[in-house]
């Protein structure tokens, strides 16, 4: 396993996440895709920490995980509110701010 293959993995996960964010309509699926993108960043951090040495990148990953959890909590709360309001979690319905 080389650094290059790890970066490629991270890129693939990022691409899947972006694809999901752009194409999915359901809020939960979008949240999941966002999580994938965040995780691809974490993979990059971890890989560089492993191959180039130095503990600071691993510390970043731990912080990023904690932040992601908080983000998911807020995201899921928004999804709950969206469901209560519209009876559905399609983000196409949540465009009130436009008006």
């Amino acid at each position: 396993m080389t650094l290059t293959s790890c970066i490629l993995l991270a890129s693939a996960v990022m691409a899947i996440g972006v694809y999901g964010v752009v194409t999915r309509r359901q809020a939960v699926a979008m949240l999941l895709s966002v999580e994938l993108m965040a995780n691809s960043a974490n993979i990059v951090f971890a890989s560089f920490a492993h191959f180039r040495g130095g503990p600071s990148a691993q510390v970043f990953v731990l912080f990023a995980l904690a932040l992601t959890v908080a983000e998911v909590a807020i995201g899921l709360a928004l999804v709950m509110l969206l469901y209560r309001r519209h009876g559905d979690t399609s983000l196409a319905l949540a465009s009130e701010a436009r008006r």
Partner: protein, 599 residues
């Protein structure tokens, strides 16, 4: 007190009265207190002027005190202050004396006005006296310009005193417009002078070309203020104002401000022979033209108004001949006898309640004192030997000898004949002949009315003998001489009076009356100005309006429209869908990455 303090007192006393009357409205609204206050201020001014005269007779030199105004780059842009020399002292005395007589006369003449109007009248008189004194004591052209505009404002307000009468309001606006049009010449003249010499002094000596420009522009203002052809049209209309106002502003002092300006700026005019030649001709033409029109007026005051135009023409012609002293001397004597004539006319109008000459007639027995005063004024104006007008008119005519192949000289001699002729007509028609319909119950006014007539009659008779003294005060040359001109002038004035007796004594009409009347009613100059106004000013205004409405407003409207449309278009980017925003973020990041890679 020092001469400077006295000059300041003379100038500012009426200003104090004017401001008090303006601010403390109960004083003004009650009428009588306003009259007392204004009279007190005028007496103070006159007293200060007399004190200055006494000091000067005791050998006091010229006094000049200025304070810098608007410091700029370490030196004052201009100065304001007072200058007391022979010219300003004599003018100050004339203005204050005539103003006092006129104000005293007004107390009786305006007696029937409601208190508010009465108070306003005297407040305006105080304002006028202040303005005129500012002109008189000015040490430079800039301060003179301020006073000049202020007298213009006073004139407008006093002509329009009966503003409820449409003709008076129109006359006031007309006078304002005509004189303002001319005053632009003053303003531009000042600018040219300042740009080329860096000062507003009349002693600054610019090059001949600049002097011609400056004096030419100043002369435009003189033509307007002193009612010279072709800007004279406002003066006859200004007779809509109360008669004492006509006496003070539109005969004795304000209209003479133009002549005063030229006397003051004589060093500048001396550098511009071209301007002087124009002045010579304008003055001569005005003198004859206005005298001709004075012959056919049916309104007593309008005869005197045209006569004023004509006499101012004499003064301007003398100034054009380079004889500032002759013009100034005639200004002085004219101030007295024309004020006297106007006040006597006011007395007549007060007695018969009409301006029309045809309503008068045979007033000699009813109004003996007024008749005496008017006759003295008329003889002085006609230039009968011995009277004040004779000396100054003779000096004006002498100063024209040989100028421009004697043509202006001949014109003014003819105008002297006309002057005697039309004054003879008025005297005969008003005071002799059959009593008019309204002349039955005429009677003399009270002392406030007759007193000023007596006071003014004295200098109208005798101020001519002061010529020699006046000349020494203004360091000019003056000597009585017996030559062709005084003899001819005497012959002309006596012939005019004789002709008037022959023609009008039997109720006849002047030759060419029909032609002159047509000329008067058709009033070509008025029509020309009205046409110029419609074509010129309204045309330019229409063009400016079009530019404003379609170009400038169009630009503004386009800016607004572009912002609105741009906003509406940009709004479409904001779909409100998270997906689209996410896509934009992705595209943005990809673009950044691409830029990073390609560099």
């Amino acid at each position: 007190m020092s001469p400077v303090t006295l000059a300041l007192v003379a100038t500012l006393a009426p200003a104090v009265a004017a401001v008090l009357l303006l601010v403390v409205s109960p004083l003004r609204h009650r009428g009588a207190p306003a009259a007392w206050l204004t009279l007190a201020a005028t007496v103070t001014s006159l007293g200060a002027a007399i004190a200055l005269l006494v000091a000067r007779l005791g050998g006091a030199p010229d006094a000049r005190a200025t304070t810098s105004w608007i410091e700029q780059a370490g030196r004052p842009l201009a100065e304001v202050g007072v200058l007391i020399d022979g010219v300003s002292l004599v003018m100050l005395l004339i203005v204050c004396l005539v103003a006092l007589c006129v104000q005293l006369f007004s107390v009786a003449y305006m007696h029937d006005e409601p208190p508010k109007a009465f108070g306003r009248y005297f407040a305006l008189h105080a304002l006028f006296l202040f303005s005129m004194n500012v002109v008189v004591v000015s040490p430079n052209l800039l301060q003179l310009f301020f006073g000049w505009e202020l007298v213009g404002l006073s004139s407008y307000l006093l002509i329009g005193f009966y503003f409820a009468r449409p003709s008076a309001a129109q006359a006031a606006v007309k006078a304002f417009w005509m004189t303002k049009l001319a005053d632009m010449g003053f303003l531009f003249g000042l600018l040219v002078l300042f740009v080329s010499t860096g000062s507003f002094e009349w002693t600054s000596a610019p090059s001949a070309a600049v002097a011609t420009w400056v004096t030419g522009l100043l002369f435009v203002a003189v033509v307007g203020k002193s009612a010279q052809f072709p800007l004279h049209v406002w003066l006859p209309d200004a007779m809509e104002g109360p008669t004492p106002v006509s006496a003070l502003l539109h005969a004795a002092t304000m209209v003479a401000a133009g002549v005063f300006l030229v006397v003051r700026a004589d060093p500048l005019f001396a550098l511009a022979p071209g301007t002087r030649e124009v002045m010579l001709w304008v003055g001569s033409v005005t003198a004859v033209f206005a005298a001709g029109l004075a012959l056919v007026q049916r309104d007593l005051k309008k005869v005197l108004a045209f006569s004023t135009c004509s006499q101012l023409g004499y003064m301007v012609a003398a100034l054009g001949a380079g004889q500032a002293f002759a013009g100034f001397f005639h200004l002085g004597t004219h101030a007295f006898f024309k004020a006297l004539l106007f006040l006597a006319a006011g007395s007549v109008i007060h007695a018969v309640h009409s301006n029309a000459i045809d309503d008068m007639g045979g007033l000699r027995k009813k109004l003996p004192l007024t008749t005496g005063a008017f006759v003295i004024g008329a003889l002085s104006l006609a230039g009968v030997p011995g009277f004040a007008g004779f000396f100054s008119k003779d000096l004006v005519l002498s100063s024209l000898e040989g100028k421009a192949s004697w043509v202006p000289w001949a014109m003014l001699l003819f105008a002297a004949f006309l002057t005697a002729f039309y004054m003879g007509r008025v005297v005969i028609k008003v005071f002799w002949g059959e009593p008019g319909a309204r002349a039955e119950h005429a009677h003399e006014g009270n002392l406030a009315m007759t007193g000023p007539l007596v006071v003014l009659a004295v200098p109208s008779l005798a101020s001519g003998v002061l010529g020699g003294w006046l000349a020494t005060q203004t360091s000019a040359e003056y000597h009585l001489h017996l030559g062709l001109t005084p003899v001819l002038a005497t012959v002309m004035s006596l012939a005019g009076l004789g002709a008037a007796v022959v023609v009008f004594g039997r109720g006849g009409k002047a030759p060419l009356t029909a032609v002159l009347e047509r000329l008067d009613t058709f009033s070509l100059v008025d029509r020309a100005w009205a046409g110029g106004y419609r074509l010129g000013l309204l045309g330019v205004s229409a063009l400016a309006g079009w530019v404003d409405r379609y170009l400038i407003d169009g630009l503004m409207n386009f800016a607004g429209w572009a912002a609105l449309e741009g906003g509406t278009s940009a709004r479409r980017l904001q779909t409100g869908l998270v997906r689209d925003y996410a896509l934009m973020v992705v595209v943005g990041v990809l673009a950044l990455v691409l830029i990073g890679v390609l560099r």
